[in-house]
């Protein structure tokens, strides 16, 4: 199969590793070989956190610059910081306000590389639903809304459900569904 690379970014404590686990499990369920790279240790204390996820027969766990098909970012600036990873015609999903994202200075670059940028304030939506820690589920829902990736919406939702701890299952799904719906409306 052709390799599909994901970059997931955000800040320490936002649940990037969980996001990465859900996507990896979706891929494994479909029989794809998966290799991921995670951030542990010092950087997890509020610093920039990034996870790499590679579907395909690869050996190295890091995505090479210019080859990521998908970038999901739980923070706007971390999305910009990781732009060098994006391949041509890649897709970017950011926790940001759709009116202000992307910055004017970045638009020509997206145009040149054929990159599709999508934004939704998933963190604020999660907070309003009383689940400030479920922004990651929100971003997942927003990603699922467009079906740009190799997974069906239902596959992502089921995997999220099965991997969420019981105490957070209902809230995670609520945030997921809300952001999925908002994504569909915006698209």
């Amino acid at each position: 199969m052709e390799t599909i690379n994901f970059i997931l970014s955000g800040l320490g404590g936002q649940g990037i590793l969980f996001l990465s686990k859900v996507l990896a499990r979706c891929a494994l369920n479909k029989g794809f070989p998966v290799l991921g790279a995670e951030t542990h240790g010092m950087a997890q204390r509020g610093g920039s956190v990034i996870a790499h996820l590679r579907l395909g027969n690869v050996k190295g766990s890091l995505v090479q610059e210019g080859t990521a098909r998908f970038l999901l970012s739980l923070e706007e600036n971390e999305a910009y910081r990781n732009l060098p990873f994006l391949a041509k015609e890649a897709f970017l999903y950011a926790d940001a306000s759709p009116e202000a994202f992307p910055k004017a200075g970045v638009k020509p670059y997206f145009k040149k590389r054929g990159i599709t940028a999508r934004a939704l304030p998933v963190g604020r939506i999660a907070l309003d639903l009383g689940a400030p820690l479920a922004a990651n589920s929100g971003l997942l829902g927003f990603f699922a809304a467009f079906s740009d990736g190799p997974f069906l919406q239902a596959e992502i939702r089921e995997t999220l459900e099965s991997l969420s701890p019981d105490a957070f299952k209902a809230l995670n799904l609520k945030v997921f569904d809300t952001c999925l719906e908002k994504g569909q409306k915006s698209g």
Partner: protein
């Protein structure tokens, strides 16, 4: 058949147990910390009899595993690369004495570095100690090599090092395995004082024997299928070949495959020391030039005796510091190819994007203590009472006290105390009584605090030592400490009191305080200061005891105190600069301070911090 999506460290744990490891010890340190907990999970689920312990430091871990290895059992100890420095004394000697069973030393490297003081290369420690080393490129390979290392160690009766780098430890892959079995070997130490307690005369003989063993292992390494292997075709000459080991091998393999470059042969050295001479020289003979890609130092490059054909760090083609990321390796290869007139690979990266991103002036995200972290409160009180002191600190979350101006030094484990006494004496020699406040975490104190503290007491150094007791080893992922008494497998051991150790080191001033109570802590620090400076005084130890809010999410803040910022806030910025709680942010509308509700832990400490009284209970 079992299946799981395991961390590389989990794959290593699996490989060890598949290889019949009966005793496993460790001291946590990124990127090695998850090996032992992952092993404990497997031991439980597979109902194995394997013994697993968190040891108090890496040397202790090494020796405990070594005892099993000279009793005929298979054992392993795990640590991070700088932890191997702590265990180096044991390693050097154990290389001479050898084993009767197996000892695998897992020392995880951190090219970057991402979470370490140095980028040191464990393979060079293997060379120094004269023990074999294996260098996996992927989690899958790390699993196989863990078992292989146990086999090699037992066969050649020598400790073997497994050196996974952070990109192996913290990669994730899917694994399947058959049910694991207990090897059931019983401890049988055979007394032989001429070997196990060898005097220098016998050590010379042991050294000779070690050299002979290494020659044999080198032979074996020249034929270690899959681990050391080349892709040369018979009787062909190549303008450029690549020798790579560990993670750089995985990266270059991907790059060559993606670019369909079958014209470039690769010699993979997954077992680089003792150097597989025959294999390496055959490869070099077939190539006009050889590019060496290895992390993080120059082991292979040094061992390739004739370096005329060799391109690498010493020739300036590979960076001398930092991680060899796919970007660095792709650019290195392209440059070398261009120089040699070989068709260069196409780079996937966009040439302008870095300039674009730089132009955005994105905020630098430095790591910070968590909202509600008790260390923040402690550092705030320390700075308040002793603004002019020298602040010696140590390794742990609390190194991030840097951001509050409460950390001036961080050398290595234990140096919070030893540098404190050293500074004190260096100034006192000139007649200056320099105030010094040392900070050290509970786990670090158990690891290497006591020798330094006894030394300081004995030599009458004077400083305040604040033991930041958050009842866990937080930075590395919340491992228990001896004070808790909970052992690696969840059983209870005996808990050890910090107070009693400190008293046992000869300290007479020992007081405990909750750092959340900033007033109480400042009052206590003032008392400590008076004690330290009085002629009859000595070292004052303040134990700032409050549980880590992450490890004890439910209980660390028994009384939640939500806060609000009133309009008394005049945007002076004091709370940002001096307290730097990430939950206190600049209000986007007014420039004053606001509370980020999704980050705030409701600890209420900032109420005591704002000089204008603008932060209040909500």
């Amino acid at each position: 058949m079992n299946e799981a999506f395991l961390l590389g460290n989990g794959a290593i744990a699996l490989g060890l147990l598949e290889g019949g490891c009966q005793v496993l010890t460790s001291y946590p340190g990124t990127p090695s910390s998850e090996i032992l907990p992952e092993a404990v999970r497997l031991i439980r689920s597979e109902k194995l009899n394997t013994y697993a312990e968190w040891s108090t430091n890496e040397k202790v871990a090494f020796d405990n595993a070594y005892a099993a290895a000279i009793s005929g059992k298979r054992a392993a100890c795990c640590m991070k690369q700088v932890g191997l420095n702590v265990a180096a004394d044991s390693l050097m000697s154990a290389a001479y004495l050898g084993t009767t069973g197996a000892l695998v030393v897992i020392s995880c490297d951190d090219p970057g570095p991402h979470s370490s003081q140095t980028e040191q290369d464990t393979r060079l420690m293997a060379r120094l100690a004269k023990v074999p080393v294996l260098d996996p490129s992927t989690p899958q390979e790390a699993r196989k090599m863990a078992a292989l290392a146990l086999d090699l160690s037992e066969k050649f009766q020598i400790p073997v090092i497994l050196r996974p780098a952070i990109r192996v430890c913290h990669a994730r892959q899917n694994f399947r395995w058959d049910p694991l079995k207990d090897p059931g070997k019983r401890a049988a130490f055979k007394k032989d004082p001429t070997r196990w307690a060898a005097t220098p005369r016998f050590r010379y003989l042991l050294h000779q024997r070690l050299n002979e063993t290494l020659l044999k292992v080198s032979e074996r390494f020249s034929q270690l299928e899959g681990v050391n292997a080349h892709t040369l075709a018979e009787n062909k000459k190549y303008p450029l070949g690549i020798i790579a080991g560990g993670v750089p091998h995985a990266v270059i393999r991907d790059i060559l495959d993606e670019n369909h470059r079958t014209d470039i042969p690769v010699l993979k050295l997954g077992a680089p020391y003792p150097f597989p001479e025959k294999l390496a020289f055959r490869f070099v003979r077939a190539c006009n030039n050889v590019l060496v890609l290895e992390e993080t130092d120059t082991l292979i490059e040094y061992l390739l005796g004739d370096r005329k054909k060799v391109l690498g760090r010493l020739s300036g083609h590979v960076p001398m510091a930092g991680e060899l990321t796919p970007r660095v390796i792709a650019r290195t290869l392209q440059r070398v190819q261009t120089e040699l007139g070989v068709e260069p690979i196409a780079l996937s990266e966009d040439q302008d994007v870095h300039e674009l991103v730089e132009g955005l002036h994105l905020p630098v995200r430095k790591p910070t203590l968590c909202p509600g972290c008790p260390h923040r409160a402690a550092f705030f009180a320390i700075r308040k009472v002793q603004p002019k002191a020298l602040f010696t600190s140590d390794i742990g979350c609390y190194t991030l006290g840097l951001n509050l101006g409460g950390v001036d030094t961080c050398l290595d484990m234990g140096a919070g105390i030893t540098l404190a006494s050293g500074f004190f004496q260096a100034y006192l020699q000139d007649g200056v009584h320099q105030p010094v406040v040392a900070t050290m975490g509970d786990s670090t104190f158990f690891h290497s605090g006591t020798a330094g503290l006894m030394n300081a007491v004995y030599n009458d150094a004077r400083f305040i030592l604040v033991l930041l007791d958050n009842q866990t080893t937080a930075m590395t992922g919340m491992q228990p400490t001896p004070a808790l008494g909970v052992r690696a497998d969840g059983r209870m051991g005996k808990s050890i009191s910090l107070e009693r150790i400190v008293a046992g080191c000869g300290v007479d001033f020992i007081e405990v305080v909750d750092p959340y109570d900033i007033q109480a802590m400042t009052a206590l620090l003032k008392k400590a200061e008076a004690y330290v400076t009085s002629p009859k005084g000595g070292i004052a130890v303040v134990i700032a005891r409050h549980a880590c809010v992450i490890a004890y999410r439910e209980t660390a803040i028994p009384e939640k105190k939500p806060v609000a910022v009133t309009d008394k806030c005049d945007a002076c910025g004091f709370c940002h600069q001096r307290f730097e709680c990430p939950a206190l942010v600049e209000d986007p509308e007014g420039g004053t301070t606001a509370v980020n509700r999704s980050l705030c832990a409701d600890c209420g400490v900032c109420i005591q911090v704002c000089p204008k009284g603008a932060i209040v209970a909500a």
